[in-house]
């Protein structure tokens, strides 16, 4: 019965997702596209935070590398979009290995500060290397993504592209977390000495996860560049890294699928609050405090508790 109910719920969700572009305004679809992008980028940060206990504040760096790679490869070199995606992910992976190998020996606040420094350095380089990034002026004229001649040139089309990609990477991440690597990660997070005794190569595992996180950030960045057709350094600041970190924190960091809820929260709540005028950023800060105070397990934990409460009442 439970299985049937779940299948029905899933079917309804898929149906709602598929029909959304036909029913919602273009602006809302636009926001859903951004939520999809944040799901992909936030998933990397969520895996590090929820499974490995690593606070990563450098995701904007990899998001930027992906975006600039796609922009440079398509606009300056005139190569196909796919090349930009691959170049971005390769560059991000290499940088993540080179930087992550020494940095991931740190733990706790020191590691968080090190990743914050990475994000800051990245932002300064995006500014300074204006021959590559366009600096303040940015890079315009990035072509819309086209696959086998089909152009993803409207928010509706990009919506149907971004979300399947987001679901695919979530499925892969879910598979990873449920397997042996996930077990090793959680052991490393909850009892590092015990994990070490059991033969978990923690440093290697941390670096591997950091590389996966970087590649997801890069993938999101490339999709973003092709969607908005214009990128500039303002899109890859430390604030963006913080937004990526908020996604798993708000959702409940241990939940892979909860990343979607976190991404929807950081995309839609500021938009809803913007109706209150200039105070919207303060209200968003208050909303975050309310979520982390009242829902210590995040939105997903809160929803679980509510479901259990309702179940008990009904029984």
């Amino acid at each position: 019965m439970n299985k049937l109910r779940r299948s029905l719920l899933l079917l309804l969700l898929v149906l709602a997702w598929a029909l959304a572009p036909l029913l919602l305004s273009r602006h809302l679809i636009d926001l859903f596209v951004f939520a999809g992008l944040f799901t992909i980028g936030g998933l990397g940060v969520g895996l590090l935070l929820g499974q490995c206990g690593i606070v990563n504040l450098a995701q904007a760096l990899f998001y930027g590398i992906g975006a600039y790679s796609s922009a440079y490869v398509t606009v300056q070199l005139g190569l196909p979009s796919l090349t930009g995606f691959l170049a971005g992910m390769l560059a991000s992976a290499l940088i993540a290995i080179a930087v992550g190998w020494p940095v991931l020996r740190l733990t706790g606040f020191f590691l968080a500060l090190a990743t914050l420094a990475l994000s800051l350095i990245g932002n300064v380089l995006f500014f300074e290397w204006d021959w590559l990034t366009g600096g303040t002026l940015g890079i315009g004229g990035i072509p819309k993504l086209s696959i086998f001649g089909f152009a993803f040139d409207t928010p509706e089309r990009v919506y149907y592209l971004v979300w399947p990609i987001a679901i695919l990477v979530l499925l892969l991440a879910d598979n990873l977390v449920r397997g042996r690597p996930g077990l090793a990660m959680r052991a490393m997070r909850d009892a590092a000495p015990a994990a070490e005794v059991l033969g978990v190569d923690m440093h290697r595992l941390k670096t591997a996860m950091f590389v996966i996180c970087a590649m997801l950030g890069s993938l999101a960045g490339s999709l973003f560049a092709h969607y908005v057709s214009y990128i500039s350094v303002q899109s890859f600041t430390v604030e963006r890294s913080i937004a990526f970190l908020l996604i798993p924190v708000v959702a409940g960091s241990a939940s892979v699928w909860g990343i979607i809820a976190g991404a929807l929260f950081v995309t839609f709540i500021p938009e809803l609050l913007s109706g209150f005028g200039d105070i919207h950023q303060v209200l968003f800060g208050l909303a975050l405090v309310l979520v982390v105070t009242l829902l210590p397990d995040g939105l997903i934990g809160g929803a679980d508790r509510l479901a259990q409460l309702l179940k008990r009442r009904m029984a």
Binding site: S25, R26, H27, D30, L31, F34, L49, G50, G53, I54, V55, G108, F109, A112, V124, F127, E128, D130, G134, G135, T136, L137, G138, G140, G141, P155, F224, V228, S229, Y230, I231, S232, V233, Q234, S235, L245, L246, V249, S253, E271, S274, G277, D278, I279, H280, Q281, V282, F284, G285, L286, L288, V289, V292, T293, P296
Partner: protein
């Protein structure tokens, strides 16, 4: 443990946000019968809120004044103002909403170059009239002929500064510029040295968020310049230049010619020369009405960012009067393409840079005890 640390950090967020929070502005629209809906996207929060907030004041005053005078051919205007939080991504999202959901007739804004280039990708294919508060930027903007620019291009800014330097007979020039806006202007300026007969004694670039530029200022001073050009969106270079006793005249761009910047510069503001547009202490005849209205409304003097907001609305209203409130996008865009005498300057929206500002558009001022005093100088002489 890590999650707990994140939650603790987030708990501090409101305090941090409150400290960054600019003074609140009032809500934006005037409800009237069948108004003509216009959209505006400005940066009221974030890094360039110092530019966006005065622009909004100018927009609101223009809306109020215009509607009090009967609107456009008897029809009031309603301006839906959105804040892009100084982010091009948010600007894209806001413009999509204004254009596709609210069906605005035209767009005013955005405040920054990056935002303007980003949202131009939405307005240009629709031929929707957009009046941007940034000057003509990268090459792609030349093709966007319905995106009009109400502030000068970076090259014109550079020429306005160098004209003054040349005419004050300075040939050795030091430059202090930041890595953001400053870099953009410097890119346009560096190759103009020969044309204006100057040489660069020392050029120092600093990180946009730098809080101490003493080293860079000292290097510029050591090069013994006859004049120093400062291009930045920060008051810090001015303070540091005075701290290292840099006595050469300092000339700066219009972006720092605001009372907020002057306040932040403190004593260092004295004698700084600006190539700017509105010297409200001594306005030109065509600027007086706006200065009086603004002073009556807000009890203080405006600068050119407020005037830019006013000019954007008023020039658009004139085009709406010509084309009619129901005109198609292309017709309204065509109606915009003509000369317009604004408060800030005389524009020619039919010019290749979609703004038509020239060296003659600039006014030059010198700061004396926190007040802008008009200099008897015109770059067009």
């Amino acid at each position: 443990m890590a999650l707990q640390a994140c939650r603790s950090l987030i708990a501090l967020a409101p305090t941090a946000l409150l400290s960054l929070y600019p003074l609140p502005a009032l809500a934006q629209t005037t409800a009237s019968r069948e108004p003509i809906k216009l959209g505006a996207v400005i940066s009221a929060t974030g890094a360039i809120a110092g530019v966006g907030l005065p622009e909004r004041e100018g927009i609101l005053l223009a809306q109020k004044t215009l509607n009090a005078r009967g609107g456009v051919n008897g029809q009031p205007i309603e301006i839906l103002i959105e804040d892009d939080a100084s982010s091009p991504d948010v600007a894209v999202s806001k413009v999509n909403a204004l254009v596709h959901s609210h069906k605005v007739k035209a767009l005013i804004g955005t405040s920054g170059i990056a935002q303007t280039v980003a949202v131009g990708g939405i307005t240009a294919p629709l031929k929707l009239t957009q009046i941007a508060f940034s000057g003509l930027g990268p090459a792609v903007e030349r093709e966007r002929t319905c995106v009009f620019h109400i502030t000068p291009s970076q090259e014109l800014n550079a020429r306005a500064l160098l004209s003054y330097v040349r005419d004050m007979k300075a040939s050795k020039v030091g430059v202090l510029h930041d890595s953001g806006y400053g870099q953009v202007v410097w890119n346009s300026m560096k190759d103009l040295a020969g044309e204006f007969g100057v040489t660069w004694s020392q050029v120092e670039k600093f990180e946009i968020a730098a809080t101490d530029l003493t080293t860079q200022a000292a290097k510029v001073r050591a090069s013994a310049p006859e004049a120093v050009i400062v291009i930045s969106t920060s008051p810090m270079p001015f303070r540091n230049a005075r701290q290292v006793r840099l006595t050469a005249p300092i000339i700066s761009v219009h972006g720092t010619a605001t009372y907020d910047y002057v306040k932040a510069m403190g004593d260092a503001a004295d004698n700084i020369i600006h190539a700017e547009f509105l010297i409200a202490e001594d306005p030109l005849p065509h600027q007086r009405e706006f200065v009086d209205l603004f002073q009556k409304e807000h009890g203080r003097l405006p600068k050119h960012f407020e005037a830019a907001g006013w000019d954007a609305v008023m020039s658009l209203a004139q085009a709406l009067k010509t084309a009619g409130p129901d005109a198609a996008n292309e017709a309204l865009c065509s109606a915009m393409r003509r000369p317009y005498q604004g408060v800030m300057a005389k524009f020619d929206f039919s010019a290749p840079d979609m703004g038509g500002l020239t060296l003659a558009s600039f006014n030059y001022s010198k700061l004396v005890k926190g007040k802008f005093t008009r200099l008897d100088y015109s770059a067009a002489k």
